[in-house]
Structures are given as C-alpha cells and as structure tokens.
C-alpha cells in the first residue's frame, strides 16, 4: 500500500517538475535588470562589417548636439500638461496637451534654420520628452528617454536645438511611455519649408490625423472639415498618421498627385484617379490637387477636408497607389549594391516569457526582448536591411536616417526613389531597404505600433565609438 502510494506521489511530483521546471527557467531567464544601457543590451550584429572602425575615437551621446550657439531663427516654448481634451463632437477625455491643445501647435521652419524648442513639463507625472519624427537631428536632440536623454520630470525644462536638413512633412511626439502619451495627445506637426519659404501659388495645409478614444480627427476636428480654398487653387495636403496602424487617404472629385512620402518628394509623380494612398503609422503623405469648380474632398477614412464648394464623398477606390512603381527613377546619391553591412530584421511572434510575463511576444531574428539585435555601424557605411514580418503589420521606423526601398518580395523598385522613415511591413512581406550611416549616435529602429514597441519590438542602430550614459529603467521608459 505505502509503496504504491509513494510511487504515485513520486510520479506526480516528477510530472510537476517536468511541467514547471522549464517554465520556471524560462521565467527566470526573461527577467531584465531594473535599469540598463542600450549599449549593453542585446546582441551586437556587425552585419559582415568591421568590428572597430575608430577604436580610439569615443564620443558620448550628450556631446552629439547642434554645433555653435547662434540665435535661433525659430523659437517655440511648449508646455506639456495633464489636461482635459474636448472634441467638437462633445466627447471629453482625460489627455495630455501642449500649450493647452492637442495636437500641439504646428511648427514651421525653413531648411537649415536653427530651431529651438523649449519643452516645459508642467504636469505630466511620468515625465516626458519630444522626438522629432523623421528629422535627421543630432543624436542628443532625438528625444528618446533613456537613450538620448533623461525623461523631463514635472517642473523641469529641456531645450531642443537642431537645423532640419531637408524640407518636408514631419511630426513631433513624446518618446517617454509613448504607447500612452502619444494616443493621449502629446503630438504635433512640424513642417520644414524649402529655403526662402513655400511657393506662394500653393495653399499649404497640414492634416494631422489622430484618434482620441476611437474618434478620428484631423487637426483635432471631427467630421467634414471645410477648408478655405477656392476653385482653381493648387493645394498641398500634408497627411500625418499618428496612430498605430495604417490609414487610407484618397481624393473625391478630382485627380491628384502623391507629391511626397514621409519627408521626401516623389520624383515626377503621375496624376492619378481611382487610387487610394496608404499612410503608414507614423508616416506622412503629401497629396497635391487643383480644386475644381465643383469642389473636391480629401478623405481620411472617417473625417474629410472639404475644399471649395461642398461636393459628394466618394467611396475608397479599391486599388492602392504603389510607391514601388510610382514616379520616375532618380539618382540615390549612393550605391546600395555595394553595401558595407547587411542586416536582417525578421519579425515573428511566439509564446514565451518577457520581463517575467507570460504571453505571445514579438521576436526579432528568432530572439526575444531584451536579446534583440544591436545593429553596429560605422560612419559613412552603406547599410542594407532586409525587413520581414511573419506576423501582423509593423510600421518600421528608423530614427535619425531615411531609408530607400530597393525591393518588396523580390520585386525591384522601378519608380521614384521611395525614401521612408516609417515603412509599412504587412504579414508575409519582405522589404529590402538601404541607407547611409551619416548621423553618429545611438538610434532606435523599432516598430511604430507603439503597443508593439512596448511589447519589445525595438532594436537599435549603434555607431562604433559612441557611449550612452543614459539608462532605460529608473524613470526612463521610452516605449
């Protein structure tokens, strides 16, 4: 009797051990220290390049600033506040504002002008930062908490200074607890105009699309938004998608051109009808049209801009404008066929523990956070990256650089150079992209679905010889 009972208990306990031991081990292995530097996080990936290009030369992130202390051409003070946001639909929500509004003010500057933005945190309890999405700012101005600065606590100020090198449509947003602070309103548009300003013939409009608690807005307004334009006017609408997923934009009542993607002009864009444009999460699309006598509308999947006389809304055209074949080729300025480094960025998903929590987690090249790749580069490297999604849509965003799309699923890009800083990678798709490493620092290369980023879909581009004194954890939570 005792023998059988003991055998049974031993068998039971062995069963438990077999079941629980691997789980316990996986749980333990997934824990991360309370705080850590991105420079010591993950596995360095040299991409087939040299290990140390400049072993003697070391520079720290805080020193990578805009040189000189000239008088700013554009000076803005932004006050971040925990606030109530009221929509014109009557909806109210507890959110975050900049200078009392969300989105914050549109900042306009010319290429090469010195922009100075003083961010004062009045009452955002988690602390906050501002990231200049798409702008090749010096690394210390990139606004990523725990990577390029410490989060700005309540009562403190941080001053951003940079000279935007390229004209185009950009936006700014918090990069501290961003998966909460961005949806709750810490966002705004940044338009960089060419030297000498915009051409006065074109009406220039910002259409920042943001959803507040499920209500999609354009520049904070809902529904049909009348715009001051008359028939015959040439209009450029700068669509900015601040959300976690792609949106569709199209034009009712007249043909249009896709003049720019992210902040890069499309070379010789054709005029199209019956096409919708996909605007990547975090990405931008500049639509250009001439208002016809009967009026036109820019449709933004819910809200719309009404240009000229009121005209009927049209359904979304089935066909999507494909930037891979749109426009005409132009020189890239570098040769992507002879890269110094090649990286893979393959995104999958599997059940596991991350930070001690069980769940379905994103993997990068088969590894889970924090064991993500650290893409090592040296200045002037030509870098190629193959980005694949095996599960879900991922808007991949590289800080501080712009990437050019070379191919999608093996089909080469034959249109205008397709420059992006936010690239929509759908499940099953593989994109080959290339860029020149011309902006030293520690740069995030992550999914701009900020929920995915918070779940560990983040990697970094690290330049050799760059020291990162900031730490993630201890109040810095970039995602």
């Amino acid at each position: 009797m005792w023998g059988s009972r003991r055998r049974r208990i031993v068998a039971g306990l062995t069963g438990c051990a077999l079941l629980l031991a691997p789980l316990a081990w996986m749980w333990q292995a997934s824990l991360v220290p309370r705080s850590y530097s991105v420079a010591e996080m993950g596995t360095p990936d040299l991409g087939g390049g040299a290990a140390h290009a400049h072993p003697d030369h070391r520079v720290a992130v805080p020193d990578l600033t805009e040189p000189g202390d000239g008088t700013p051409d554009v000076r803005v003070r932004l006050i971040a506040r925990s606030d109530t946001i009221r929509l014109d639909s009557g909806q109210e929500m507890h959110g975050l504002t900049l200078n009392g509004t969300s989105p914050g003010p549109v900042i306009r500057a010319e290429v090469g002008q010195l922009v100075e933005v003083e961010l004062f945190n009045e009452s955002v309890t988690d602390g906050t930062t501002l990231h200049w999405h798409g702008v090749e700012v010096p690394n210390a101005m990139d606004g990523v908490a725990g990577v390029t600065q410490d989060a700005v606590p309540v009562g403190s100020t941080f001053t951003y200074r940079f000279r935007p090198p390229r004209a185009g449509t950009y936006w700014y947003h918090s990069h501290q607890v961003s998966h909460e602070q961005v949806p709750r309103g810490l966002i705004g548009a940044l338009v960089v105009e060419p030297r000498g300003g915009l051409d006065s013939e074109t009406t220039d409009l910002v259409a920042l699309v943001h959803s507040y608690g499920g209500t999609r807005t354009v520049n904070g307004a809902t529904g049909e938004i009348p715009v001051d334009a008359t028939p015959g006017d040439r209009v450029r609408v700068r669509v900015i998608n601040t959300g976690n997923g792609p949106i569709s934009a199209w034009v009712s009542g007249t043909p249009f051109r896709l003049a720019a993607i992210d902040a890069s002009d499309v070379h010789r864009p054709e005029t199209v009808t019956d096409r919708h444009v996909q605007v990547t999460a975090g990405g931008r699309a500049d639509l250009e049209l001439v208002v016809p006598a009967s009026g036109a509308r820019v449709e933004l999947s819910g809200p719309s801009l009404v240009l000229g006389p009121d005209s009927p809304a049209e359904r979304r055209p089935e066909a999507r404008l494909d930037p891979l074949t749109y426009g005409e080729p132009a020189p890239l300025g570098f040769d992507p066929e002879r890269p110094d480094r090649r990286f893979d960025y393959a995104i999958g998903r599997r059940p596991a523990f991350v930070r001690g929590r069980p769940g379905l987690w994103w993997s990068i090249n088969g590894h889970l956070y924090p064991d993500v790749p650290m893409f090592m580069v040296a200045e002037k490297d030509v870098v190629r990256v193959s980005i694949t999604s095996r599960s879900d849509v991922h808007p991949m965003h590289l800080h501080g650089h712009r990437m050019v799309v070379l191919s999608r699923d093996g089909q080469p890009a034959t249109g205008s150079p397709w420059w992006v800083d936010s690239l929509n990678v759908a499940p099953g798709e593989t994109y080959e992209v290339a860029f020149v490493a011309d902006n030293p620092g520690a740069w995030m290369f992550h999914c701009h679905h900020l929920g995915h980023a918070a779940e560990g879909l983040v990697a970094h581009l690290m330049y050799h010889g760059v020291a990162v004194p900031y730490r993630i954890g201890d109040g810095n939570v970039p995602e």
Partner: protein, 157 residues
C-alpha cells in the same frame, strides 16, 4: 484532490461560456458604434493607450486575458492536480484538455494574424474544450461516489 480536479474542470467549462459571451457582447457593441459613424480599419483596430471607443470593447480584452493567460493556467493546474487526484484516465484527459487549450491559443493567434479558417476552427475547438472539460468533471464526480478497494489508503488525499 479529486474534488479540486472536478471544480477546476467545471471552471474551465464555465470559462468557455464566458469567452463566447464576451465576444458576442463585443460584436453587438461594435455594430452599434459603426452605426453611429465609427470607422473600423487597421488603425482603429490597433488603437491603444486611450479611452475605449465603446464600452463593449472590454469584451475583447476579457477574451484575450482569459484565453491567453487564465484558461491555459487553469489547464496547467488541472494537469498538476490530475497527478494526485486518482481520477481514472484523469491525467490523459487533463493533458488532452491542455493540448486543446494550447491549440486554441495558437488558432486565436493565427486568426488575428489574418487567417480566417483559423477562426472557424477556433470556434469549433471551443465546443470541444467545453465538452472535454465537462467529461473531466463528470469522471471525477462519478468516481467519488464509487467505492474502490484502495480507497482506505486515500485518507487525507
């Protein structure tokens, strides 16, 4: 231990009911929200971090937490309990139930990744989990009323 086995099996069966109800509730809320002018696309589906567009969306959150955390956990505990509960074929049934639950999580995951057939099987597999959970509970109950020769050795178990 046998009654623990029985209760756990019933709880898993009840959880399947909760899962179905939560999803149905969410869909009716979604329908009303769309009628009121809400737009559902990828960007809306991926919204996080702000207030919910409609209150019934809680249904999908409940479905996710229940399905990905709570029910698998109950399945693991049931399997552990089965080692000690002396329910005839109790270990096999608990292990199969856990297998079906794992399959269910994978199906839910691939369905969400854009494979509609997975959703179909996910719905059918839910009924299978429900049935096996009830079978497990039933086994533990009928055994409790049947005297067994070794029952005297089970004092305290």
């Amino acid at each position: 231990m046998r009654s623990a086995y029985r209760v756990l099996a019933y709880v898993i069966a009840a959880e399947v009911v909760v899962q179905a109800a939560a999803l149905a509730w969410m869909f009716s809320g979604l329908g009303r929200w769309i009628q009121d002018g809400g737009v559902l696309d990828k960007a809306t589906m991926e919204e996080e971090g702000g207030p919910l567009p409609f209150p019934e969306l809680v249904g999908i959150i409940v479905h996710g937490i229940n399905g990905q955390v709570l029910i698998p956990l109950l399945g693991v505990i049931l399997l552990i309990v089965s080692f000690f509960a002396r329910v005839p074929r109790g270990v096999v049934i608990a292990a199969s139930l856990l297998g079906l639950i794992v399959l269910q999580v994978i199906l839910g995951m691939t369905a969400r990744g854009g494979v509609p057939i997975s959703s179909m099987v996910h719905g059918a597999n839910a009924l299978l989990i429900f049935a096996v959970a009830l079978l497990a509970a039933n086994r533990a109950r009928s055994e409790a009323t049947e005297p067994r020769p070794s029952a005297s050795a089970d004092v305290g178990v």
